[in-house]
Symmetry: C2
């Protein structure tokens, strides 16, 4: 089949859905963010890309801290709501039960199966967005989401986003072991 | 339920699976990468985090260009193979059919439903990894992967990765419209 060029505004397939938490003038705020990635192995660093017009960057700069919370599909409506309204006009602090870790200034969400507490390391300024790099200081979960001590995606039940069609999708079936299923091909070569 | 801290080496749930393409000393090379994200709206910029010991950074620096290819689940074995062997010792150029876009130095994969051609803008040095920021110059796909002119994840059939359990997962069912399903909650408040 022939390849066609559909232009430059293309996305990652699919994007993880998270809620980035920050404390802004003493009020916990949560923003829906799908532009994020782990970026460093040791120390563990995560990057979140936020539009410069958002309210959340203010709180991250203020406290040099933020959280990244991975919601289950049961929280889809609330997550989407956090993407529809700005903390500038709306108090989103009452939507979730909030807890804090060692940093004390990175609000995390009790209802989320996995919450990362991050200390701001660096801000990379970009044309319309800023990239916030945070060192992961701790990861909070519950026994019910673990298998062999590791978070189990089937128990966490997160969801993903596609753009520009703007749809949420569930995680499907287990497919294969990574760093393993390609071994046969390696032996063949 | 009580939250427990499982330590700082935590990951994003789930991670998109891509193959990053580069031309190293004239030879096309592909590396399996799950640490990536869109990071800027306009111009469209994508970030990929690569361990400094990898072979791919050499090619990206050499040509100031790279590609990000999203494979379908049918390519799982080949993708995993690309994550198991280094281009330093192994010629991976024959695994896929290769094509080029306008940049001429960012090899892309014919078998992948979506390929992004990127011009290197900036490298952010991190302790063990480097973060390569590339402007997306074009996105190559085929008519069979589109619905209403947009890439359709159900036609692309990509897969995702979880770490540290190291598993690949398929994409599941459609769940809801983004920037929409939370509107009822917005009206209620």
């Amino acid at each position: 089949m022939e390849k066609i060029n559909i232009g430059n505004n293309a996305h990652v397939y699919p994007m993880p859905v998270s809620l980035v938490g920050s404390l802004i003038e003493g009020r916990p705020n949560f923003m829906a963010v799908a532009w994020l990635s782990r970026v460093n192995y040791m120390p563990p660093i995560i990057a979140v890309a936020l539009n410069q017009r958002h309210h959340t960057p203010k709180g991250i700069q203020e406290n040099q801290a933020f959280s990244v919370n991975f919601p289950g599909a049961d929280l889809m409506e609330k997550v989407d709501y956090c993407g529809l309204v700005s903390g500038r006009e709306t108090d989103k602090s009452g939507i979730f039960q909030i807890f804090y870790g060692d940093l004390k200034t990175a609000p995390m969400i009790q209802e989320c199966p996995l919450c990362l507490e991050c200390k701001l390391l660096q801000v990379v300024p970009l044309p319309t967005n800023n990239l916030f790099l945070g060192e992961i200081m701790g990861a909070y979960t519950e026994e019910i989401y673990l298998t062999d001590g590791k978070p189990d995606i089937q128990k966490m039940n997160p969801f993903v986003l596609t753009m520009p069609d703007n749809n949420y999708w569930r995680i499907g079936e287990w497919a294969a072991k990574a760093w393993s299923v390609g071994r046969k091909l390696k032996e063949k070569k």
